[in-house]
Symmetry: C2
Subunit: 258 residues, 2 copies
């Protein structure tokens, strides 16, 4: 049992939680919490870190073995590595899964979300979750977005991170070029657009573009996309939260496709 | 200028930020940030607390007077009272506005949101913001919800708190009784419901019921409401975030009403 925060494995885990560069170099990331860790494919898990008094200790002992590590951690050490208010006693180090742009654009009946510089980890994670629920076939994230593998994003995806194909990095312009070549129409969500989102045809192969929380999409991106749409707003509201806006349009696409 | 965190006015302000009981007893609350404070009706402001190096100092000096207090605060004291990562230099103590259930049920073309035990301040605030944007005429919050006047909720509403009529307190059962008497149909959002939300008639006077993040609506509440609806979900998603679910249904109501 690990009883010291000075243990090299604990130091390595803390580094993985904090540093995107460390996660990128090593192709691994950290997920915390019973539910999300159980949703991870055991074949992709490097190590389970389980608190000595975790209710599910037996479950993770059974999942470990065959190249999957298990580290039992004292309760006090676990509290020091947890990023949650009420730790559930399990953290897993998991290998990243990688997809190609071809995986995403060649999916049947494509409904893609392209995020440009969406910086709040909670927004990015929530968009993963809603995208899966609305039937999206993939996500494309520019390198200005919050890291999908950051602890807060992972938590907010509620497991969708393991299931929705995505690519992180590059620019919206590059993604738009590939989408166009594949015959997938792009719809920029923009406050200045004249077309209400619910009058657009979102039932054909489509990509929905959502921009930064404060500034929206880059004007270059808006001009490169096939259509510009807006969400009508009453009252004195200037804009919607980015995850809310993405969800409203995704569910309109889902409605049109049902 | 206030230069000490021991100043009684500063101590009072901190108490108002922290304690709902203090806010309730005195009928006042705290809002922070240039944008939201400017949106508050100056007639409802008790005191502006402005940092000595706030860019908008002049604006708030002009708004003060005629019974509206102004306190200039040293930069270091302001940092100690700010609840934000990047303080903008202004905090206002504001009188709560009060509405009656009659104000809300007698509004023309009612579209009401009833929140039962929605506990995350960010969710409650985001629902205020989206509700205003989607044309909701009022919100009803049970006493198990996050305090709409808590600092994080106020911030998340982005000013909608000042504009959307709402009532906080009481039970969903009591609210449902009043809604029924007023001829407003209630729609419980429930994972077990058989009717997809987008096949329900949300264009007539309607109240949309959204429950707790982990547990949803109380079964008693679901059984007391006129209709039960669900949001179809693909993949392995078990539920949507409460604010996302509320927004998807609110915008469907908005779409049907346009």
């Amino acid at each position: 049992m690990i009883t010291s925060t000075q243990n090299p494995k604990i130091k390595e885990l803390l580094l993985l939680q904090k540093k995107a560069s460390e996660r990128n170099q090593r192709g691994i990331f950290v997920a915390e919490g019973t539910k999300i860790v159980k949703e991870a494919d055991p074949n992709s898990v490097v190590t389970y870190f389980v608190s000595e008094n975790c209710d599910d200790l037996k479950t993770f002992e059974d999942l470990a073995g065959k190249g999957v590590g298990l580290e039992i951690v004292s309760s006090s050490v676990f509290n020091s590595i947890s990023t949650q208010k009420t730790p559930q006693g399990v953290i897993a180090v998991i290998r990243k899964k990688t997809w190609t742009i071809e995986d995403i654009i060649s999916a049947g009946d494509p409904l893609i979300v392209l995020l440009e510089n969406v910086q709040d980890p909670g927004n990015v994670g929530t968009i993963f979750r809603t995208a899966e629920a609305a039937g999206a076939t993939g996500l494309l994230l520019t390198d200005g977005c919050a890291d999908p593998y950051g602890p807060k994003t992972v938590r907010s995806t509620m497991g969708s991170l393991f299931r929705v194909p995505f690519i992180y990095g590059g620019s919206a312009a590059d993604y738009l070029k590939r989408l166009r070549e594949a015959g997938i129409r792009s719809y920029s969500l923009s406050l200045d657009a004249s077309i209400p989102y619910d009058t657009a045809d979102l039932s054909s192969p489509a990509a929905i573009l959502v921009g930064n929380e404060g500034n929206g999409l880059l004007s270059e991106t808006v001009s490169l996309s096939d259509h510009n749409i807006h969400i009508p707003m009453c009252g004195s509201v200037e804009s919607l939260n980015a995850a809310i806006a993405a969800s409203v349009v995704l569910y309109e696409a889902s409605r049109q496709r049902r």
